[in-house]
């Protein structure tokens, strides 16, 4: 068995163990009213719990990979003469120094990071407004028109004006019925796709395990 075959085998064993543990564990009613059903359900739930805790630990550690990647990319860019990367690396070094010498003081974060994120959020509003105005350029069809009309109705309906009460009623109906139905349809499609992708990974058919 080669490395790819071994990876697929491990994925299959871990995947099947976890899914069976999650589906069958912690519910004694599945195994009848016998005296051993509680113990059986508890034992079946144990492998899933252990594996999920391992995943949580690995995800927590992966932030180190992300930071290492960020530093590596910007050192490479600095070597190619990109001066903004020097700013990023200097900021990183200074923040680390500040955090260590001031025992986790978050004032630097609040003084720099929060205003910058607020500025980006304000920019996001402008980008969204611009994007909305360009919908009819990109999608000059019935769906683009419908999209713009719905956005306008919902925006007008959210205004606190008594004159716009009929529009608010329309807006509420739109949000409660068609928008809710559309959102559920999209989420249902994503859920189906997730199940098929999950089963493919479970069976070792995913490319990451096939080599």
């Amino acid at each position: 068995m080669g490395p790819a075959g071994m990876a697929a085998f491990v994925a299959f064993v871990v995947g099947v163990t976890t899914i069976l543990s999650l589906l069958l564990g912690d519910n004694p009613a599945l195994f009848g009213a016998g005296p051993g059903s509680d113990e059986l359900a508890r034992r079946l739930a144990l492998p899933g719990d252990v594996l999920l805790r391992l995943v949580a630990i690995v995800i927590a550690v992966s932030i180190v990979i992300g930071i290492a990647n960020l530093l590596f990319v910007h050192v490479g860019r600095l070597a190619r003469g990109k001066i903004y990367s020097a700013v990023m690396l200097a900021s990183f070094a200074f923040t680390m120094y500040w955090s260590i010498t001031n025992k986790g003081d978050a004032s630097l974060l609040e003084a720099v990071q929060v205003p910058i994120e607020s500025a980006l959020a304000a920019l996001l509003f402008v980008s969204l407004a611009l994007g909305g105005s360009r919908v009819m350029q990109k999608r000059a069809d019935i769906w683009g028109l419908l999209f713009v009309a719905l956005v306008l109705i919902v925006l007008l309906g959210s205004l606190p004006l008594a004159e716009l009460a009929p529009v608010k009623a329309w807006s509420d109906w739109l949000m409660a019925i068609p928008v809710s139905a559309g959102a559920r349809a999209i989420l249902l499609g994503i859920a189906l796709g997730s199940v098929v992708a999950g089963v493919r990974a479970l069976l070792g058919q995913d490319r990451a395990y096939r080599g």
Partner: protein, 272 residues
């Protein structure tokens, strides 16, 4: 519905999906001719973007967004990886490695793996870029796109409203984009601002639309089968509910209306 019933239905659903995946892949491999497949928006543009990138020596930008391995969004990350694998494999002739970005650190190894398999062995470490999530990610990607000037942006994963910053930046620089998000707010932004948009489960069907892989097409077919069954079931339940509320509706009339709806749905599906 009590917990036991939900668990039994879940086991049945997963078991049926496993059987369907195996069956569809078996028949998919046996069938030599290309299965008639749904057309997905923007898929015919991807080869053009790749060609433009090769000719002008510009990279493609591929983004997972916040789709991370290990959490609830693992399937989206795996589907994105499969999609990107086929896109990168087509861009193999380029001297410029595609840029893969993400905001979930656990996806960094997946991004490296995709590049290593689909592009070519070599130094691709700086082509996989992680940035902190949400607005910081969007700002960093927009700034990075200004420096690297990618030939096109393919954003397939998990994005929120911050997607607007990336798409606006791309639009201002004349860089084409294709976007799909498993989050609803990101999906709405993608519809409004991307040049081409995939919706919902099309994220999971996209790999089969850019490859000759019969297994991928079989998976896309299973998605369609499940979706069709759910639409059929919902239609039947709806008609049954109508027949209770409206005494004038007779059973034959309900059956005729249901049949007409199903035929119309089938015709619309075939025309797509």
């Amino acid at each position: 519905m009590d917990e036991t019933t939900v668990q039994v239905y879940s086991v049945l659903f997963v078991a049926i999906t496993v059987v369907l995946v195996y069956t569809a892949r078996f028949f998919g491999r046996r069938r030599a001719r290309r299965r008639m497949q749904r057309q997905l928006a923007g898929m015919d543009q991807i080869p053009q973007w790749i060609t433009q990138g090769i000719e002008s020596n510009l990279p493609l930008h591929l983004s997972f967004g916040a789709a991370g391995v290990g959490g609830d969004h693992t399937p989206a990350a795996l589907a994105g990886a499969e999609f990107f694998h086929h896109v990168i494999a087509r861009a193999n002739a380029s001297d410029m490695s595609p840029t893969v970005t993400m905001s979930a650190p656990a996806t960094v190894p997946l991004g490296h793996d995709v590049l290593r398999r689909a592009w070519r062995p070599g130094n691709t470490l700086s082509s996989v870029q992680w940035y902190p999530p949400d607005l910081a990610y969007a700002g960093a990607v927009a700034a990075s796109a200004a420096v690297e000037e990618p030939a096109a942006h393919i954003l397939a994963g998990r994005f929120g409203a911050e997607l607007a910053l990336m798409l606006d930046s791309a639009d201002q620089r004349g860089q084409p984009s294709l976007a799909v998000s498993e989050r609803l707010d990101g999906q709405a932004v993608a519809f409004a601002m991307a040049d081409h948009v995939l919706i919902g489960e099309e994220l999971f069907a996209a790999p089969s639309a850019v490859s000759e892989d019969e297994g991928g097409r079989a998976d896309a077919a299973i998605l369609d089968v499940w979706r069709g069954l759910i639409i059929l079931g919902a239609t039947v339940l709806l008609m049954l509910e109508f027949s209770k509320q409206l005494p004038l509706l007779s059973w034959p009339l309900v059956a005729v209306i249901a049949a007409v709806l199903i035929v119309l749905g089938a015709i619309t599906y075939r025309r797509r």
